[in-house]
C-alpha cells in the first residue's frame, strides 16, 4: 500500500485573548487544539477521526487541507513535505512552490453544514464548476460537460434540472451532494470529510454515506472522515483514531477498536453509544467527571482527571506515547500494559 498522507508531531495552539495590561507573549495562555499528533494514511485505507466536541478533530482536518497553519510538526503528501506550502502559497519563502496548485487540487474538503458551506448567491453550476475555473482547467464547454457528469455521479440527475438552481431550493441531503460534487470534480487523491452527515436525517444519511464510499472508491480517493459517531465510522472506514483533548489515545483497525477497545476513554465512548435494541442493557460508562478545556494542559496523561484506571504514577509521567498492542492497534496508556 502506498502512503498518501502522513502527519508527524502535528501541533496547533490557539492563543487566548490577553487581558488588559497583561498582553506580553510570556503570559498568554494557549488552547492546545492539536497536540503532537502523528499518523499515516495509505491508499484505500481511510481513517476516521472520532471524539467529542472540542477534542481537536476538526482542527486536524483543517490543518491537513491548509486552512490553518500548524504551530509545529510536519505534513507529507504523497511522500513530499507540504507543511508550509499549503498555507503560505505564493508568499512562502525558501520552499519549492512549483507544484503547489497541483497539491491543492489533490486535497479537497467537505464541510459539516451544507447550509453554511454553499454560497447562497451562486447557482449550482457556478458552485460545482468553481474549482475548474479557479484552476483554469478546460474550456467553458469542457466544464459544462464535467459539471453534468459530476452532478449525475452524485445522484442529481438529470443534471439540467439542478444547474440553474440556487442552494436554498434544495434539501439538506441534496446540498450535501452538491458539496461532494464540488470536492470530487478535480479528481482529488485525498478528501477531508468533516462530519458530512451529522446534520442530515437518518433516512437521508444512509444514502449520502453510501454515495461517498462508492464515489471515492471509483475515483481512487482516500479520505479522513471526521465524526463524533462511532457507528457511522464503522460503516465508512478501515481504521479509526480516537482523539481526546488534542491527543490520539487509540488508533487501529475499525473492527478491532469496536470489538476490543484498549484505552479506557474508547471503552467509555463505546459504552455510551445508544443501541436501538431492547435486549441490549447498557451500563453506565466508566468515566469520571466531565471534559476539561485543553488550555495549557499539564504534562501528564490528558485523560488522567477522568480515568477510572489511573494510578499515582500516571500523574508523574509525561503523557503516554502510543504503543502497538496488536498489529497496528495502538493505545496511549500506562495502566493497560
Amino acid at each position: 500500500m502506498l502512503e498518501v498522507l502522513s502527519i508527524k508531531n502535528l501541533t496547533k495552539l490557539f492563543p487566548l485573548p490577553g487581558r488588559f495590561f497583561r498582553t506580553s507573549r510570556s503570559t498568554l495562555r494557549n488552547v492546545h487544539a492539536v497536540d503532537d499528533v502523528t499518523f499515516e494514511i495509505s491508499d484505500n485505507d481511510s481513517l476516521a477521526l472520532v471524539g467529542e466536541s472540542g477534542c481537536g478533530k476538526t482542527t486536524t482536518g483543517r490543518l491537513i487541507v491548509g486552512l490553518e497553519k500548524p504551530s509545529g510538526g510536519r505534513i507529507f503528501f504523497e511522500g513530499k513535505e507540504v507543511t508550509d506550502r499549503l498555507t503560505d502559497g505564493k508568499h512562502a519563502n525558501n520552499v519549492d512552490r512549483s507544484d503547489i496548485g497541483e497539491i491543492r487540487r489533490k486535497i479537497q474538503m467537505i464541510f459539516q453544514d451544507p447550509y453554511d458551506s454553499l454560497n447562497p448567491r451562486m447557482t449550482i453550476d457556478e458552485i460545482v464548476s468553481e474549482p475548474l475555473v479557479v484552476n483554469q482547467l478546460g474550456t467553458a464547454k469542457d466544464r459544462t460537460v464535467k459539471v453534468k457528469e459530476t452532478l449525475e455521479a452524485v445522484g442529481l440527475s438529470p443534471a439540467s434540472a439542478y444547474t440553474q438552481r440556487y442552494p436554498h431550493e434544495l434539501s439538506g441531503g441534496q446540498r450535501q451532494r452538491i458539496a461532494i460534487a464540488r470536492a470530487v470534480i478535480l479528481n482529488p487523491a485525498f478528501i477531508v470529510a468533516d462530519e458530512p452527515t451529522s446534520m442530515l436525517d437518518v433516512s437521508v444519511r444512509a444514502g449520502i454515506m453510501e454515495l461517498f464510499r462508492n464515489l471515492t472508491e471509483r475515483i481512487g480517493a482516500t479520505y479522513l472522515y471526521i465524526t463524533h459517531d462511532l457507528a457511522v465510522a464503522r460503516y465508512m472506514v478501515q481504521r479509526i483514531a480516537v482523539m481526546y483533548l488534542g491527543k490520539i489515545v487509540e488508533i487501529g483497525p475499525t473492527e478491532k477498536i469496536l470489538a476490543n477497545p484498549l484505552h479506557p476513554y474508547t471503552k467509555a465512548l463505546l459504552q455510551a453509544v445508544p443501541v436501538p435494541d431492547p435486549e441490549v442493557q447498557k451500563g453506565e460508562p466508566d468515566i469520571l467527571g466531565q471534559i476539561s478545556k485543553p488550555i495549557d494542559p499539564p504534562d501528564y496523561c490528558r485523560f488522567y482527571d477522568r480515568c477510572p484506571l489511573r494510578i499515582d504514577s500516571c500523574a508523574r509521567e509525561k503523557h503516554p506515547p502510543l504503543r502497538d498492542y496488536d498489529n497496528g492497534h495502538c493505545a496511549a496508556c500506562y495502566v493497560i500494559d
Partner: protein, 330 residues
C-alpha cells in the same frame, strides 16, 4: 393502563402561509398515562416540534387549531386545553405541563443568575411563596439533576453544555408538573453526557411519577428511556407501540425503513438502506397514505385512500393498508 393525564384526540394544527396552509399536525391521536414516558420520533419537518408547541399552546401568529382536543386530567377534573382562554392556559403552562426546549444551551438568559431564572416560574405560579421555600426547592432539584447546589448563584456562561442542560431540566421540574415535554433534550450534547442525562431523567420520571414526552429524531437514544414510541411522518402518527415492539417488530414500512437506515455499533454490519424520495409537501398532502410514494410495498389503494391508524396487535397501532406481519416475528 391507569388514567391518562393527557389525551390528544384528532388534533389538527395548521400554519397559514402564502398560498395555503401547512398541515404540520394533521390528525394526531394518542394518550399519555401517569408516570409514562412516551417517545415521539420523526425526521425534520414531520411536525413533532409543532405537536409539542400545540400541547403547550405556544403557537406562532400564523398557527391555528383546526380541530381536535387536548384533554388534561388532574384530580378527577378533565379539561380541554384547546378551548381554554389564554389567561386560563397560563395557569397550566409550566405549572402542570412544562417543556425542556431544544438547544437548551441558548435558552438561558446570559445576564441573570441561573438560580434566579429558575425561581421566576415558581414566584409567578405560587405568589406569596417565601424565599426559603424557593431556595430549598431549587437546591433539591439541583441535587436531583446532578448539579452542585452551590452553583445556583452562578451565571450561565460559568456552566458547561451538560450543566446548562441539567439546569434547564431543573427549571422544567420546578413547579412539579404532571407532564414534561422534552424536545430533543440531548441532541447538542456529546454521547457520554447524553447517556447520563437521559438516565437521570428516567430516574426522575420513575420516582416522581412525572409523565414525559420525549421528542427526538434519534430512535436509539430515546429508546433507552421510553415505555412506548410513536413514529411520526408528515404530520401524522403512523405507528405507536411499546418500545421493544417498535424496535424489534415494526409494522409500518416507514418504521422498518428507518431501522434499516440506522447504523449500529453492535451486531452484524448490515447494509444501510436509505429511503428514496422526499417527504410530501404538507401544503398539498397526497390523498392516500402520505408515505406511499416512498414505500416499497405500496399498491393502488395506498395512493387512493388514507389508512386508518388501527390496532394490528396488542397495544400496537399502525396506519398502513399492508402492515408488516407482526405475529410472524413474535
Amino acid at each position: 393502563m391507569n388514567h391518562p393525564v393527557l389525551e390528544v384526540r384528532d388534533l389538527k394544527m395548521h400554519y397559514t402561509i402564502k398560498g395555503g396552509s401547512v398541515k404540520a399536525v394533521d390528525g394526531v391521536t394518542f394518550s399519555l398515562a401517569k408516570g409514562e414516558a412516551l417517545g415521539v420520533v420523526g425526521e425534520s419537518g414531520c411536525g413533532k416540534t409543532s405537536l409539542a408547541m400545540a400541547i403547550l399552546r405556544l403557537l406562532t401568529e400564523n398557527a391555528s387549531f383546526v380541530s381536535g382536543s387536548i384533554f388534561f386530567s388532574k384530580d378527577g377534573d378533565k379539561i380541554d386545553l384547546v378551548r381554554l382562554g389564554e389567561e386560563e392556559m397560563r395557569r397550566y403552562r409550566w405549572k402542570e405541563i412544562s417543556m425542556i426546549f431544544q438547544a437548551a444551551m441558548n435558552s438561558l438568559n446570559p445576564v441573570y443568575r441561573v438560580g434566579d431564572q429558575i425561581a421566576e416560574a415558581m414566584r409567578t405560579h405560587f405568589p406569596g411563596i417565601s424565599k426559603e421555600e424557593i431556595s430549598d426547592r431549587i437546591s433539591y432539584l439541583f441535587r436531583l439533576v446532578g448539579l452542585d447546589p452551590a452553583r445556583v448563584n452562578r451565571y450561565p456562561h460559568e456552566y458547561s453544555g451538560g450543566m446548562k442542560q441539567r439546569a434547564i431540566i431543573a427549571m422544567a421540574l420546578i413547579c412539579n408538573p404532571s407532564v414534561v415535554i422534552a424536545d430533543e433534550p440531548t441532541t447538542a450534547l456529546d454521547v457520554i453526557v447524553q447517556g447520563r442525562i437521559l438516565k437521570r431523567l428516567r430516574n426522575i420520571q420513575e420516582e416522581s411519577k412525572t409523565s414525559i414526552i420525549y421528542i427526538s429524531h434519534d430512535i436509539a437514544a430515546i429508546a433507552q428511556v421510553c415505555d412506548r414510541i410513536a413514529i411520526m411522518y408528515a404530520g401524522k402518527i403512523v405507528e405507536l407501540a411499546g418500545t421493544a415492539a417498535i424496535l424489534k417488530r415494526p409494522a409500518h414500512h416507514y418504521t422498518s425503513a428507518l431501522m434499516a437506515a440506522f447504523p449500529s455499533i453492535t451486531g452484524q454490519k448490515k447494509k444501510l438502506v436509505a429511503i428514496e424520495g422526499e417527504p410530501p409537501d404538507l401544503v398539498n398532502p397526497p390523498v392516500g397514505c402520505r408515505f406511499a410514494s416512498r414505500c416499497g410495498a405500496a399498491e393502488k389503494i395506498c395512493f387512493e385512500s388514507e389508512p386508518e391508524c388501527a390496532e394490528i396487535g396488542e397495544e400496537h397501532l399502525a396506519a398502513c393498508h399492508f402492515p408488516l406481519e407482526v405475529e410472524i416475528h413474535a
